[in-house]
Every structure is written in C-alpha cells, then in structure tokens.
Amino acid sequence: MLNIIWSVLIISGFLIGAATGNVQNVTAAAINSAKMAVELAIGLMGVMAMWLGILRIAEESGLINIISRALKPIMILLFPEVPEDHPAMGAMIMNISTNILGLGNAATPFGLKAMEELQTLNRYKDTATNSMVTFLAINTSSVTLIPASTIALLTAAGARNPAEIIGPSIIATTMSTLGAIIAAKTLQRLPRYKIKPWERGRKNAA
C-alpha cells in the first residue's frame, strides 16, 4: 500500500508540475527535501539519545514498572499479546503519556523504542503484529490534550481567544482515538488482514 501511495505522490507531483510549467520547482523540492530529511534526522538522533538515556534511568529505578502497574488494566486490554512486565509496555506508556502532554519531541523516541521492543515479541519479523497496529493507530489518532503549537499559530494569525479550540479538540481527539482502537481491533479479525498461513509455512521451512 505504501508502495502505491509513495509512487503516486512522486509521479503525479512531477507530471502535474510538468503540465503547469512548474517542473523546475518540483525538482528543487525533491532535492531540498532529501537534504532536509538528513538534517532533521540528525537533530532527532540527539533528542532520541537524550530521551533513551532518561528512559533507561526510569527503567532501572523501577519507575516505569510502577507506572505500568497503575495502567495495567487498560494496557492489557489494548495489548493482550504483550506480557505486562515487558519493556515494550514501558516504552508505549511513555510514548502515549508524552503525546498526551503534547511533548512530540519526546514522544517519537519512546515510540520508536516501543516498536523495537514489540518487534522482539514478533514471530514473523516482516509482518506487523496486532499490538503494533493498535499502538500506531492510537499514535496517529493524536491524543494531545492541549494543541499548543496550533494555539500559537492562531495567536500569530491574530485570533483573540485561540484557547477556545482546546475544548472542541479534546472532544474530537477522544472520538478519533476511540475510532482508532475500534478500527484496529475490528480490522485485525478480517481475513484480508490476517497473518497469512503461507507466510507461516515459509517461516517454518526456513
């Protein structure tokens, strides 16, 4: 699916650019984006290293276990395949709670760490597990309580009371997170999204 979306974005971008006489700008955008990606990723590497360091302290001190135990009932419901004391739980909890607080910079490192830990529980390393999909669905539904950067944007645009979007945003994001969980839990049962038997066969043969 990503193959199709990715190709469509690039091919249609260049074709439309050519049709509107804008193709040099599109080419420049491609090259600049590639450069920018490396700069962004290098920045992320530093932030990632810092938060992973902090996370390790929280793990070794047992703080993560305490938080995990408090959230156990919800986490077990959401991620039944993950053992409750597995490091994946801690990383997912840290990711979701930093997201709720709107700390996107801290959330990404925890999220990537969570995926790494979930992968250690995965029998078929090239195939997403139900827990991974549920986790990502929650992540992509946005659980942020205070949309701080959007409020800043509206303030800059001259809105008199930009904080008024907080209430509606909380309602809408609660709906989208519930939608995400229901969608992930329902779709995982559909035959077309099952982990395919022939993949299992190939794995056993290997």
Binding site: M1, L2, I5, W6, L9, I10, S12, G13, F14, I16, G17, T20, V26, N32, M36, A37, L40, A41, L44, M48, A49, M50, L52, G53, I54, R56, I57, S61, L63, G102, L103, E116, K125, D126, A128, V133, L136, A137, T140, S142, S149, T150, I151, L153, L154, A157, G158, A159, P162, A163, E164, I165, P168, A172, M175, S176, A180, L187, Q188, Y193
Partner: protein
C-alpha cells in the same frame, strides 16, 4: 488566564520529567550517569534505521506539495464533500494532514489570512489539527525503523482514525463556534 496556565504547564512538563526521573533514580541507588549513557547508545542505531524511510517520505511529500497537486485533488473532492456537509474550505486540510504536519500548519495560516482567524473554516481546521496526526509519515518511519514490510491493517486503521477526527472536528466546531 487559561492560556497562561496552559503555557506554564507545557513549559514545566519536560523539566519536571527529567528532574523527577533522575531524582527517583538517585533515591533508588541507580548509577544514573551510566544508565543514561547506556540508554543513549540506542540513539545512533535508531538514526541509521530511520534515515531511509525518512528521506523517502520527505521527498515524496516535498514533490507533492510543490506540484500543485493539492489544488487539483481539492477540486476533485469538493462535490463528494459537499454531500456530507463538510465546509469545502477545509478539504485541503483533510488531504494534507495525514501527509505533513508543517504542510497542515501552513494551510491553517492560509485559512486565517483568507477567511480570518475567527472564521468557522479556520477554527475547524485548527480542531482537525489537534485531533489527527501525520499518519502516513508515522507509519513509514515507525515500520521502517524495524523493517516491517507487511503492514496489514495499519494504514486502514490510521486513516479511519483521521476521518473520525475530521468529521468530529466539523460537527463539534459547528456546535461550539456557530453563533
């Protein structure tokens, strides 16, 4: 007043977390410096793993944004969107949001310039911003980092969540802001 306290909380959240975690570690006799450096090692490995998908996605999104494809797609979607009672000004937002956070932010600024920052269109787009995420980008980076190729129902679930967020944003904003 509310805005001030919100700012205050978000400014203090990170210092509180860092100091709290290190302080608790010291209390539990954790060698905090060693633990930090041990954990931080993972940062570099993650960088190596995410950089290919990072470049792939940002190039595709950059090309798409520059080409003017957004306008074409917006016009194509308008008739459909009109039938389900979504204001057509926010259609570009619904297309851009799953692809790019900065792209979506610039659409909000544009709506604020065109219709005013207190217009229903601008407020609805702002609520959409807060109730959805850059789904495609997140999937590409998170799955790319651990070399997952078969993503199963991840894209469908993510896009359904975005759609639920968008529709909720439209209806909730109408109730809150349509005076």
């Amino acid at each position: 007043m509310l805005l001030k306290s919100v700012e205050y909380v978000s400014q203090l959240a990170i210092p509180f977390m860092i100091v709290g975690i290190i302080g608790y570690g010291l209390q539990k006799n954790v060698k905090v410096y060693e633990a930090f450096t041990e954990g931080a090692k993972g940062g570099f490995a993650t960088f190596i793993r995410i950089i290919p998908s990072f470049i792939a996605m940002l190039v595709a999104i950059g090309v798409f944004r520059e080409s003017g494809a957004l306008d074409l797609l917006t016009n194509a979607l308008k008739p459909i969107v009109r039938t389900i009672n979504i204001p057509e000004e926010v259609v570009p937002m619904m297309i851009m949001r799953p692809l790019s956070g900065s792209g979506a932010q610039s659409i909000i600024s544009q709506l604020a310039r065109t219709y005013g920052p207190e217009s229903l269109a601008c407020r609805t787009a702002a609520v959409m911003m807060g109730s959805s995420e850059t789904t495609l980008y997140v999937l590409a980076i998170y799955f790319g980092s651990i070399s997952i190729k078969k993503q199963r129902h991840a894209l469908a679930s993510g896009l359904i969540a975005d759609l639920v967020g968008f529709l909720s944003a439209v209806y909730v904003s109408r109730i809150f802001f349509n005076s």
